[in-house]
């Protein structure tokens, strides 16, 4: 006992007399304490592994539940339109998509329209002169027909 300042001699005497008494032995089993300590340590290690596997299980479950839905095959026009739409405002994107569809030539519809006109009004219904078509997609005119017949 280090700092016993301020005690009177009689108090010190009492202190010494009490200090002579030995506390009853603690009947703790040291082996039991060691065994419990080992068991606690092993349990803690098990808990770490259980925690890790539990976390992985949860991650797997979440990834299965929230898997992204499969998307269909994109056509070229949709892809272009959607790509343009992603980077422009909505109305500008719609306008661009409409003009894209409008400007695309439809040769079958053109042919049917022209055939119907020729049947009704004769060869006069063919469009006015223009340079020779560079591709088969462009409609035939009267001059083209005349040129073709004179060459044969």
């Amino acid at each position: 006992m280090q700092d016993d300042t301020g005690l009177t001699p009689s108090e010190k005497e009492i202190e010494a007399a009490l200090g002579g008494l030995r506390p009853a032995r603690a009947s703790l089993n040291r082996d039991q304490i060691m065994f419990d300590a080992g068991r606690t340590s092993a349990r803690r290690l098990n808990r770490i592994w259980q925690g890790i596997s539990g976390c992985l299980g949860i991650v797997l479950l979440v990834s299965l539940m929230y898997r992204p839905a499969a998307t269909g095959v994109e056509t070229a026009s949709n892809a272009v339109a959607s790509n343009v739409g992603n980077s422009l405002p909505v109305d500008a994107a719609n306008r661009l998509r409409d003009s894209f569809h409008r400007e695309r030539p439809d040769p079958i519809a053109d042919y049917v329209r022209m055939r119907r006109a020729v049947l009704n009004r004769g060869i006069e219904a063919l469009p006015a002169a223009s340079p020779a078509p560079s591709t088969y997609d462009e409609p035939l005119t009267r001059e083209h027909m005349g040129g073709i017949s004179s060459s044969t």
Partner: protein, 167 residues
């Protein structure tokens, strides 16, 4: 601070277990006090590094364990403690003792709990008053005055019992 190995643990156990159990008996019966001390050693073993003041740490942990157990078993406390006090003495009787162990136990039981705690920590726990003030979380001056008051009360009651006891 250092790591806790089995040799150091055995040393601490040999040195402090009896005093710790006596300290725990301030609140608990014999068996519960033993469990509290065992719990304190278990907590010590679960530490990665040994506390800087192992002795004070052990007494503080036993105190916390004892108070927790006390709250849990509040209803049975008095009955258990009285029964346990009768069944198992706090001190080992030695022929050369200046004071009878049972008498000392009786006198200690008459003290207020806070005073008794300081006496147990000081005399049998061999803690300094500064360490005691840390364990019980009270100012040093309070601890000092409690200790002096407890010693005065013990002296007075011992003298009274000597006068009343026929030789």
């Amino acid at each position: 601070m250092g790591s806790i190995d089995s040799q150091r643990l055995a040393m601490w156990y040999e040195a402090y277990s009896d005093a710790l159990k006596l300290y725990a008996r301030n609140w608990l019966g014999s068996d519960a006090a033993q469990d509290a001390v065992q719990g304190a050693f278990m907590k010590l073993m679960s530490q990665t590094l040994a506390p800087s003041d192992v002795k004070a740490w052990l007494f503080r942990t036993v105190r916390n364990e004892a108070v927790t157990r006390l709250r849990r078993e509040q209803c049975r406390r008095r009955h258990d403690r009285q029964l346990s006090a009768q069944q198992s003495p706090w001190f080992e009787g030695q022929p050369d003792d200046l004071i009878d162990g049972r008498k000392a136990q009786e006198v200690l039981m008459t003290l207020p709990e806070a005073q008794r705690e300081v006496v147990l920590l000081r005399i049998w726990g061999q803690l300094s008053l500064k360490q005691i003030s840390e364990v019980v979380a009270s100012p040093l001056t309070t601890v000092h005055s409690r200790y002096k008051a407890a010693l005065a009360a013990i002296k007075e009651r011992m003298q009274q019992s000597c006068k009343t006891t026929p030789d």
